[in-house]
Structures are given as structure tokens and as C-alpha cells.
Subunit: 243 residues, 2 copies
């Protein structure tokens, strides 16, 4: 199997060369039944602390599987200090936002309740599985944290003022991304409103805060999930680790 298509699993326990990692039930099912791996086959493991390792299947049980950690292939590398706050959306669009945010290297994801938010009930277990899967696939070394759904005002009242909060203003009165990007050094967070937009009250609140920055992404109206991906992509390309 080429490195390109390597199988990559996140372990929530620290890894060490020479030691054994015991895959959990889901991972075992995936390796054994989905990928049909056998004894001696290679699996890449990363722990979000020490980096990424080559391992080999040593033993296959009914519901567990053990892997011998052989050699380190990548040092741990932290993703940039950029957060995504997004007004929760319908299930399939929330799935898109979360998956793409992981690929685009965010370090924290906050589903947010705003005045015009569709109130999605996110299942923390499901979201956690999604985030891990996306991290495994996109080959990042860390797994971003996902917060529980919180009210926007509540989040703002606890805000660390050293982190710039960039909110997307679809009324068109924000700065262009290119122009505003010089004020977006990490730590930064992007806030994407719901399909209905922010309420007037929310706009007033956001405008009044010292640590916020209003940005427009052109004249066409982007769906919330598109705006999330666009903002993070532009940030990575102009300020973050795509540079």
C-alpha cells in the first residue's frame, strides 16, 4: 500500500516506539472488516501528542486488535491557533462545516446559537467521531476540540480579548478579506452567522466590541457552510500555514 493511501488512525493514548497499541472496537472493525487487513499489515497511528508512527498488526482478536509501534514518521505538529464559530445548521450542512473545518486546520470548533439560528441538536459522540475521521483522512497531527452548543452572547461574555473575532458581514459593510487580513494574525476566530443572518442587535453588539473585525466576501450571498470554508481557506492562504 502506498503512503498516499495509508490507513491512519488516531489513538487517544500516547504512543511510544516498541510498545503495543490496542485498537478499540470501532477501529478493530474498520481494520479487520472494512479494510480487510491481516497480521503484519501496516497501519499509521497518531496520538496528537508525540506524532505519527508506523505500526504493524500483531494480533487480531474478536473485538480488539493489537499493533506494534515500530517507528516514528512525523513529529507532532500543532495546527494554527484559529477557531471557527458557526451558527448551527441543518444536520447535513453542519456535517460539511465540521468536516471541512478540520481539513482546513482549525484548532477549535464552536457551534453557536444566534437569534436566527436553526437549533440543531448536535450529538457530541457523533461530532467527536466525525472530527477524528476528518483528522485521520486529512493527515493532520492533532484533533480539534469541539465545544458544546453555546449562546453567542454567552461566548462573547467570556471572550479573551487577545483573540481577534472576525465576523462575516453579508450586508456588505465589512472590509474586504485581502485588506483586513493584515489584522488577522493568530490567535483569531471566525464567526459565521446563520442563513437568516445576524439580527440587528447582534450586529450592534459585534460592532461595539474592541476585538472584532467585520469582513465581506463579495456581493453574492454565500451559504453559511460555503462562507465557513471560504473564510478559513482565505485565512490559511494569506496568514496561516499555507503561506
Amino acid at each position: 500500500m502506498s503512503k498516499k493511501n495509508r490507513i491512519r488512525l488516531f489513538t487517544d493514548t500516547p504512543l511510544k516506539i516498541g510498545e503495543i497499541y490496542t485498537a478499540n472496537e470501532n477501529q478493530t472493525h474498520y481494520l479487520k472488516n472494512v479494510m480487510r487487513l491481516g497480521l503484519g499489515d501496516e497501519v499509521f497511528l497518531f496520538d496528537g501528542i508525540n506524532g505519527e508512527f508506523e505500526s504493524q498488526i500483531l494480533e487480531i482478536g474478536k473485538k480488539t486488535l493489537s499493533l506494534k509501534v515500530n517507528k516514528k514518521i512525523f513529529d507532532f505538529e500543532k495546527s494554527p491557533d484559529v477557531w471557527l464559530l458557526f451558527a448551527s445548521l441543518k444536520k447535513e450542512n453542519t456535517d460539511i462545516v465540521i468536516q471541512k473545518a478540520v481539513e482546513l486546520g482549525v484548532s477549535k470548533i464552536f457551534p453557536v446559537q444566534t437569534e436566527y439560528t436553526f437549533n440543531a441538536h448536535l450529538k457530541p459522540e457523533r461530532v467527536k467521531a466525525q472530527v477524528i475521521e476528518a483528522a485521520e483522512q486529512c493527515r493532520r497531527q492533532d484533533v480539534p476540540e469541539v465545544q458544546n452548543l453555546q449562546n453567542l452572547q454567552q461566548i462573547l461574555s467570556n471572550w479573551d480579548k487577545n483573540r481577534t473575532l472576525v465576523y462575516l458581514d453579508e450586508t456588505g459593510s465589512g472590509e474586504t478579506f485581502a485588506k483586513a487580513s493584515s489584522k488577522m494574525k493568530a490567535p483569531v476566530a471566525f464567526l459565521i452567522g446563520p442563513e437568516g443572518g445576524f439580527s440587528l442587535r447582534e450586529f450592534e453588539l459585534l460592532k461595539s466590541l474592541s476585538y472584532t473585525l467585520s469582513v465581506s466576501l463579495g456581493k453574492r450571498i454565500l451559504r453559511a457552510e460555503t462562507a465557513s470554508i471560504s473564510a478559513l481557506s482565505c485565512w490559511q492562504a494569506m496568514v496561516g500555514d499555507w503561506k
Copy 2:
């Protein structure tokens, strides 16, 4: 109804103030049964030639509905001359790519067959409906053209050398987007490979052409639909009409 939530329909016939537009069966169903509009209600119409107009429902028939074109609200505006070529994907991901490309203002969309492409059977009628719906929702004034699926080599053999073809190189040997953006003035086209990447032969071919430019979007592996959205967003922000 606020302008924010206005109902907006694309008409494939040119509009003129004072004249009557007759909605087709799908549009009639949408206005009558989905949006539950009645006589005198306002609908925004755009024709992709003359611009966007306010109209009012004048008559409601069983399968058609007539609208009186009252006043122009926006002049026609062409979207930037940027194309998206993408290796066709599984249905739901192709849907995402097409919808987002419309929102992000492309003028032409080419599904492309590459060596490692999943061969999706795109139904032209379905794609056309998707593109129109996305254009209606994002409030652009024109509707991008969608080409039929073509082979990459076939597309390249007919290429107009004045159009820069930017291909995403996930092996990491491309330039950064920020650096390469100065060479991406319109007309430009982005080419996004399939999940399996371009073949070695395709890479060699792309590299050998005078009008191509290779770009990398960081170290994390982006899914093909993410890469499409990211590349178009970065282009709009650095070169296109988000500036």
C-alpha cells in the same frame, strides 16, 4: 417580505419593463404551492442579459402563472471569467462542488474525466436545475454554463493558451497560492484532481504545458470538494471580485 428573503427566479427569456413573463410549470409550482404566493405578490426575476426586475403576480393558472415586469432593480453584471474543472466525484460531492462553484462566481463548470476519476453519470437536466437554483439563491445575475463530462486530455488539446490553467498539486510541489496569485489574472481556470490525485502521466503533461501553474494548498490533504471551494475562494479574495 423583506428584500433579504426575496424570491428570485431565473427566466430564460429576456425581460422588459411592462411586459408579461409566463412562469413555467416548475416555477409555477414553486410560487403557488411551495411559497404560497397569491395575486399581487412580488417576485424578483433575472434573465442573465438585462438584469434583475421586480414583478408582480398577475394571474394564476393551473400550471402556469403570469407576472408583470414592473421595474428594474439591478443592471446585468457578468461574473468574473474564471472556470472550474473538477474530476467528477460521487453524486453528493459533485452536488456540493457545483452548488458552491456557482456561489463563488465561476462562469463555466467542466466535469472532467481523469485517470483516477470516479466516473459519475451526471444528468444534464439535473445539473442545469442545480445551477439555476444556486444562481437564484446567491443573487448572481448570470447563470454559469456547465459542460458535459470530457476527458482531461481532450480538454487540454483544445485549450486557449491565453487562459491560465491552475492545477492543485497535493504532492506539495506547487507554489503557495499567495505567491502564485499574481500570475492568476482572469481569464483563469482551476483544475481539481480526483480523490486519488492525478496520475504521474497527467502530472507530466500538466507540467509540460506553457499555460499551466501548479499550486499547493498546505500540508493537510483536502478532499476534492474542499479544494474546489478553497481555490475559488482564495482567487476571489486575492484577484477576483471580492477585492
